[in-house]
């Protein structure tokens, strides 16, 4: 179970802007630790975002996405009070879902 995400969703002029910060190491699998052993790859590889019940974005990520990833995008529609739900899954099968309310 990962740490909580920080999700911000604001609606303005009929467009909802969604900004998400995720807590994840995003280990490339190319790095060596102090003892010289390769640190195994460990990264978020799927992200799904929903506005209300509608899936608005599905992402596939590789290890080239930065540690503690940030994602921002915009969706037509949505209004204050709507729910935004973001789920990530990493390559070890761990997953996390967080929800925020559009303001």
């Amino acid at each position: 179970m990962g740490s909580p995400m920080k999700i911000r969703a604001t609606s303005k002029d009929g467009v909802t802007e969604i900004k998400v910060l995720m807590s994840h190491e995003m280990e490339t699998g190319q790095r060596k630790d102090a003892s010289g052993a390769v640190v195994p790859a460990w990264f978020i590889n799927e992200v799904t975002a929903k506005l209300g019940d509608k899936t608005v974005l599905q992402a596939q990520w590789g290890p080239s996405v930065s540690k503690n990833p940030y994602l921002a995008f915009k969706v037509k529609g949505g209004q204050a009070g709507d729910k935004v739900t973001v789920t990530w899954v990493d390559n070890k099968g761990d997953t996390r879902t967080d929800t925020a309310t559009v303001s």
């Binding site: 608005v56 974005l57 992402a59 290890p63 930065s66 921002a72």
Partner: protein, 158 residues
């Protein structure tokens, strides 16, 4: 799909992870590709730009002024390079960000819903100065743009 995923994950957890997954795959119960959802392993593992494009189904996309990369010309640190990928093309359904000189070239690919505006912001790692390439799929066709971003060496450590 979500429910399906969850069930699969529970199977995985109960069974102790990848070893069991391998066993299940060998027994023909779970296909490895299925277990990794639809994650495009071939594209993420591609060693050349052509292979990555092929794996995305985007052979030789045309350069387009309607695909824009909003990013600074220089990154003070390659560990975090903010990139905004924008498409002005109608019916944009997919946006992908690639880094030509990274060991894993494909950084991220986004499938957009019909209501989602064709502009996404993400942060990527860059091992060195390189072209960043954005590939867009709009109305069934692929387009691209590329921009060089310099990665500088900072701080005292050098």
């Amino acid at each position: 799909m979500n429910q399906h995923q969850t069930q699969r994950r529970q199977v995985l957890r109960a069974g102790g992870g990848l070893a069991v997954l391998g066993a299940l795959a060998a027994a023909g119960i779970v296909l490895p590709r299925q277990a990794l959802a639809e994650w495009n392993k071939q594209a993420f593992d591609a060693k050349t730009l052509d292979d990555a494009m092929k794996a995305m189904g985007a052979e030789a996309p045309a350069n387009s002024g309607d695909v824009q990369i909003v990013a600074s010309d220089i990154a003070e640190n390659g560990a975090v390079v903010p990139v905004q990928a924008v498409s002005k093309l109608p019916k944009t359904e997919k946006i992908a960000i690639l880094v030509e000189k990274n060991p894993s070239m494909l950084a991220a690919s986004f499938d957009l819903g019909p209501e989602t505006l064709p502009e996404v912001t993400a942060r990527i790692k860059m091992g060195q100065t390189s072209n960043v390439i954005v590939v867009v799929k709009a109305d069934g066709k692929f387009y691209m743009a590329s921009k060089e971003i310099k990665v500088t060496l900072g701080g005292c450590g050098g």
